[in-house]
Amino acid sequence: MGDIEDTHFETGDSGASATFPMQCSALRKNGFVMLKGRPCKIVEMSTSKTGKHGHAKVHLVGIDIFNGKKYEDICPSTHNMDVPHVKREDYQLTDISDDGYLTLMADNGDLREDLKIPDGDLGTQLRSDFDSGKELLCTVLKSCGEECVIAVKANTALDK
């Protein structure tokens, strides 16, 4: 199943571009940007210039939104940078398969089973909460064809 799903991102979002251009100076801290080809959240933004009368360059430090790696880049403030389209959607968790895949239900009732339990503390918490019978709501982050669960919340009063 994994293999079939992996090919999915090529045509993800009905062929729309995964990124859009934005002037470097208009980027915001905590916003998103592509650094070294990876979608990143901007954690640090500073400007510098070559010489006192030079024009500004923006120094960006970002954290890969999927794997947490740090990337840096520097770019003239008047130039454009690629900004990834980022989407976060909430799903209800209905099951966890033996090989660690989640069964998630979207608002419209569609089911998907292509996402694994996230790594680290979040994954451990997710499994133990699910095992103890809590109804869980998973937030899935999606960008540039990649997806993963980034947050979990007990689904108490969320009957929409």
């Binding site: 859009f20 934005m22 002037q23 470097c24 100076s25 208009a26 915001r28 905590n30 916003g31 998103f32 959240k41 954690v43 500073s46 400007t47 510098s48 210039k49 070559t50 010489g51 006192k52 009368h53 030079g54 024009h55 500004a56 954290i63 947490g68 403030s77 008047t78 900004v83 990834p84 389209h85 980022v86 989407k87 976060r88 959607e89 909430d90 996230p118 680290g120 503390d121 979040l122 918490q125 997710l126 937030t139 980034i150 947050a151 979990v152 919340k153 007990a154 108490t156 009063a157 969320l158």
Partner: protein
């Protein structure tokens, strides 16, 4: 005593000092425990003596010396006078007869000093006097090694007496420290001074320059004199806290002024004394180690003040004598560069401590030397800027400039004629150092910084960085206005022509874009000329503050009596003849021309060539000019200036329109250059602030088209747009009727835009970015709205946006990039506007907050996310923002804020778990909010279970390492305790609160609370005891009981300490008893810590 103990210690020391490959960690731990036990030995004096005599291990010697001191402090009350004096004699003899390494010597000297100081409580300094007698004899006639030791001993004793509040813990309370210091000052300080000075005099009279050991001894003597002249003579009128602040300030930064009482009269006012100190300096100045303390002595003598100089022209005589000796020294020596700081300090102090008429009566050499050295330091400091990070020259220059700024400011000092020559010389020197050749020398001796990479985060804004120096240079220049006006005008005209032709050539393609070195040199020259001109014609200020035109400028303009018409025609560029034109208008005309060349260049597509730094400087200059010159009251103008810039004058309308047009062009073309864009928006905000009758921007077409341009949409960066909307909002508050509605269209357009975004179906990244930007712009509006009685109107407009916040937080709950500005908008509005809007509007706002809290809670309570460690603080920014909302609502105290605060708190408390509270920023926000809520009586109105959560949070906060947080917690506890006192100690709130008392007391006793929070903690203990008077006694019994098991010997001392704590105190919450308790609390801590804490 058997030697086995020494052998064990030496073996353990060897183990500790051995390299890691030779010993195992178990062995090392064993060795450590040997020393830990050794440090706790009781009555170790004989043992320590043995060690000092017999051991050859440095480590063991060091430990023994340390133990001597701590044991003495710990067991002082158990020792007999004989024990102590024999120990003291032994130690002095030991040091005199043995060559000891400095680590050991310092420790033993300190032990002697502690004995002397504690001993003087009972013998009123008899022993000290005897020791000083002995030491003086040694200095006068013993071998040099012993002389040096004697000096070191005097220094250590003085050090021990100098500090009272934060002195090394020797087991006595502050009052005793203080009393000992006073008695030391009265009996021995002057004696040491006279003796040391007489020894120094002998050295000078010998005519031999001190070298080797003799130089070291001289340095010690000088340091003793320096310490006495820098002595902080405590005034009995000050409170302990103030004295503590002074003492710590004195340790970190410079000495206090030399304020002496009448007892010093016979010593310090002897004319020969000053002469002697100058002689000493001349004698030792070749050696930098000696020159430094001798210069400090001279500086201190230049700031003699107090009762000692009152009456009978004493002050004049002292000053004349000092200055004559000072001038004589300057005529004899060629100062080294390293002496500049001291010399500048002497000048600065003289001017600060003596009256302008006395200064003005100084010999002519006073101003001559001052001018020469100032110019010298200007050159030095500008070379230094380009070479390294040292600030020696800059510090000296600052002191000289400080002197000048006092001198030029005093009206009863030197005459303007006396200033003329020196001021021209200083102005010319500074200008030359800043200009490139051939006019100046910039970059010839060190880099001018034009080619280095500049990081905006590290480098301060250029205009800020130099403003202190330039402000004084400007004040100096205004003393010679004719000369400076002429020079600046000539330079501006020449450079502006060059700028025009260069830009033109570039536009026509005849000069390569980039222009190379030549263009950068021109930019840099203009940058400096404009900065100097700015500080010459006006005074820099913060936004919103109106500063008058400097009076010298107005006078000069009046005295020139130029032709109004010719001047105006020159200003607006209708005529190029400078005949009969007012000098200030000439300069202003040239500046406006330069700004128009910039405008033309930007519009012609040369934005990528023009220097953002220069653009910023132009905006800055126009800003400070507009602030002083535009539309002032007519009494502040000369005739020409009023016709040009007064209210309703054509010149002002014309200038404002040009300035606004240019600022708009900068925003359009240089918006990606932070420095240029920031200064352009600041300029607009300053123009908007200018509100004689009505904001001049309200009727300025250029400004209105800027408003329209912004409403139509553009690609300005978010933070620039926020500032722009701030300027719009300021202008709107300062205008009326039709004009106001036109300006308010900016907010209307913003509201429409927000609505459109929310109506959009597509939820994509660009849309979210736009939304975040728009919310930011509303924050700008909030910040720009001023309290001039019209807040409600603008608040209602803002409310349109605020009411959408809950929906935004709901729809975009997964996108912190949107949620954060939305909540920030609530926080800022609460902070800036809530206290001045009408009640029904406050209620509307509270409604919005309630809904927002609910929505936020719905999506975020119990949520677990994967946050990388290094992004933790940022991930919780939204929680901090909600705390700010709650805090600001509580502070506003408007309407019925209680329920909203309670809701916010109920949302927040379960979220801020102890791990979150360990994040410093978040903790500070949280406890500040809790304190604010307490201050406005919101905590005791909470349901009791919520209150318990607050108490739990306080429990976490008390153990925080940050002093701010633990002080906030203690203050909050005190506040709540004062409120619940009336409810009785069995009230559930009181019971919940009282559960903190034990923890608090233990933290205090174990010194686990930051030292600066101790006073707040003491107040909290008192307030808690007032709630339940039996509390303290119960806790004391508990503590004593716990001690009885482990350390029964100390139980009586602990009992006594607790008796001291409650002695004479009633727990009624009244001020007298509160203060008495604080005093007792200090005594309690001093005694308890003496024996409970063995580190």
């Amino acid at each position: 005593m058997d030697n086995s103990v020494i052998q064990t210690l030496e073996a353990a020391a060897q183990m500790l000092m051995a390299p890691p490959n030779l010993v195992t960690s178990v062995q090392r731990h064993q060795a450590e425990s040997v020393f830990l036990e050794f440090r706790n030995s009781k009555n170790p004096y004989q043992l320590c003596r043995e060690i000092l005599e017999k051991s050859s291990s440095d480590y063991v010697l060091f430990e023994a010396a340390g133990l001597l001191k701590t044991a003495l402090i710990r067991e002082w009350n158990l020792l007999t006078d004989n024990d102590i004096s024999s120990l003291r004699e032994y130690l002095v003899n030991y040091l005199l007869r043995k060559e000891t390494p400095s680590f050991l010597k310092d420790k033993l000297l300190q032990t002697i000093a502690v004995i002397i100081k504690r001993g003087s409580i009972n013998d009123s300094g008899r022993d000290r006097k005897a020791l000083l007698d002995e030491l003086e004899k040694i200095i006068l006639g013993s071998p040099i090694g012993q002389q040096k030791l004697a000096c070191a001993m005097i220094q250590t004793i003085m050090q021990e007496y100098a500090i009272t509040v934060k002195s090394a813990d020797v087991g006595i309370t502050w009052e005793v420290h203080y009393w000992l210091k006073k008695s030391f000052e009265a009996t021995d300080l002057k004696r040491i001074f006279r003796f040391t000075v007489s020894v120094l005099e002998q050295i000078v009279r010998s005519g031999v320059r001190p070298e080797g050991d003799q130089a070291l001894l001289t340095k010690q003597l000088l340091t003793i004199v320096e310490t006495i002249l820098c002595w902080f003579h405590v005034s009995p009128l000050l409170s302990k806290r103030l004295i503590g602040d002074f003492e710590s300030l004195y340790q970190s930064d410079g000495a206090p002024a030399l304020r002496l009482n009448l007892r010093w009269k016979d010593t310090i006012l002897k004319p020969e004394l000053i002469a002697l100190f100058f002689e000493i300096h001349v004698h030792v100045r070749m050696d930098p180690e000696l020159a430094n303390p001798s210069l400090i002595c001279l500086v201190q003598l230049a700031r003699l003040s107090g009762i000692i100089l009152s009456g009978n022209n004493l002050k004049e005589q002292y000053y004349d004598n000092y200055v004559n000796n000072f001038m004589r020294m300057l005529s004899l020596i060629q100062p080294f560069d390293r002496e500049m700081l001291g010399i500048s300090d002497i000048y600065c102090r003289l001017v600060q401590f003596f009256t302008p008429p006395m200064i003005a009566a100084s010999p002519p050499a006073f101003l001559q030397y001052l001018t020469t050295y100032t110019c010298h330091c200007i050159r030095g400091s500008i070379i230094e800027e380009g070479i390294n990070d040292d600030t020696v020259w800059r510090e000296a220059l600052n002191k000289f400039l400080h002197t000048w700024s006092s001198l030029t400011h005093d009206t009863d000092g030197f005459s303007n004629e006396a200033f003329m020559g020196p001021c021209v010389e200083i102005f010319n020197t500074y200008l030359q150092c800043r200009l490139a050749p051939p006019d100046g020398t910039r970059g010839t001796e060190s880099s001018d910084g034009c080619n280095e990479d500049i990081n905006d985060d590290i480098h301060e804004d250029e205009r800020q960085l130099h403003s202190n120096v330039l402000m004084t240079i400007g004040a100096i220049a205004r003393k010679a206005p004719a000369h400076c006006c002429h020079v600046l005008f000539t330079l501006l005209t020449e450079r502006s022509k060059r700028l025009e032709s260069q830009l033109q050539l570039m536009h026509m393609g005849k000069l390569s874009v980039g222009g190379g070195e030549q263009l950068i040199t021109l930019f840099e020259d203009l940058h400096w000329i404009l900065m100097i001109t700015g500080h010459f014609i006006a005074v820099d200020c913060v936004e919103g503050e109106t500063v008058m035109i400097p009076p010298e400028i107005v006078q000069y303009s009046m005295s020139e009596n130029a032709n109004v018409d010719a001047s105006l025609r020159y200003l607006v560029g209708e005529s190029s003849s400078t005949d009969n034109v007012d000098p200030i208008l000439k300069i202003m005309g040239e500046i406006l021309r330069i700004s128009m060349y910039e405008y033309a260049a930007l519009e012609a597509g040369l934005g990528s060539v023009f220097s953002p730094e220069l653009s910023a400087t132009i905006s800055w200059l126009l800003k400070i000019w507009a602030n002083s010159y535009l539309m002032q009251q007519s009494s502040q103008y000369s005739e020409v200036l009023e016709c040009a810039f007064g209210t309703g004058s054509q010149g002002s309308v014309w200038s404002i329109s040009r300035i606004t047009r240019r600022a708009a062009a900068v925003l359009r073309h240089l918006s990606s250059q932070p420095v240029a864009a920031t200064h352009a928006t600041q300029l607009l905000a300053t123009l908007a602030h200018n509100h004689r009758k009505e904001s001049p921007l309200a009727s300025c077409e250029e400004f209105l088209s800027l408003v329209a341009w912004e409403a139509a949409g553009n690609n300005l960066p978010g933070h620039v747009r926020r500032e722009l909307h701030r300027a719009f909002a300021i202008a709107a508050t300062y205008s009326e009727g039709e004009a106001r509605s036109r300006l308010l269209t900016s907010t209307v357009a913003l509201t429409e835009k927000l609505q459109n975004i929310l109506n959009m179906d597509s939820d994509t990244e660009p849309v979210r970015n736009m939304l975040a930007d728009t919310l930011d712009c509303f924050i700008g509006v909030t910040e720009g709205v001023h309290e001039v009685g019209s807040v409600d109107e603008q608040f209602m407009m803002l409310l349109g946006a605020l009411e959408k916040v809950p929906a935004i937080v709901f729809k975009y709950h997964n996108y912190p990039g949107v949620v954060l500005p939305a909540i920030n908008l609530l926080a800022r509005s609460a902070k800036r506007m809530l206290h001045s809007v009408q009640k029904q509007n406050v209620n509307k706002f509270l409604e919005v907050c309630n809904t927002t809290f609910e929505v936020y809670m719905r999506w975020n309570s119990g949520k677990i996310t994967s946050i990388p460690q290094d992004a933790e603080e940022e991930a919780y920014e939204d929680i901090c923002a909600i705390m700010e909302v709650v805090g600001a609502i509580a502070r506003s105290g408007e309407g019925n804020v209680g329920p909203t605060c309670a809701r916010g708190l109920r949302l927040l408390l379960p979220m801020v778990t102890p791990p979150l509270l360990s994040l410093p920023t978040l903790a500070l926000h949280a406890y500040r909010m809790i304190r604010d809520l307490e201050n406005h009586d919101q905590l005791t109105n909470l349901p009791v279970e919520d209150f318990a959560m607050v108490v739990a949070a306080l429990r976490v906060g008390l153990t925080a390492v940050s002093c701010d947080v633990s002080t906030l917690c203690c203050d909050t506890i005190t506040g709540i305790a004062n409120k619940v006192r009336t409810l009785g100690s069995d009230n559930p709130y009181a019971m919940s609160l009282l559960s903190l008392a034990e923890l608090l007391l233990m933290l205090i006793i174990k010194m686990e609370i930051p030292p600066d929070s101790i006073p707040a903690a003491g107040a909290a203990i008192y307030a808690l005891t007032c709630v339940k008077p039996a509390l303290l006694e119960g806790l004391a019994r508990q503590l004593i009981h716990a001690f009885a098991a482990n350390d029964p010997a100390n139980v009586p001392r602990l009992e006594e300490a607790f008796t001291v704590l409650t002695n004479g105190v009633l727990f009624d919450g009244l001020r007298t008893h509160k203060i008495r308790f604080q005093d007792n609390f200090d005594k309690f801590l001093t005694s308890v810590r003496g024996f409970l804490i063995v580190k």
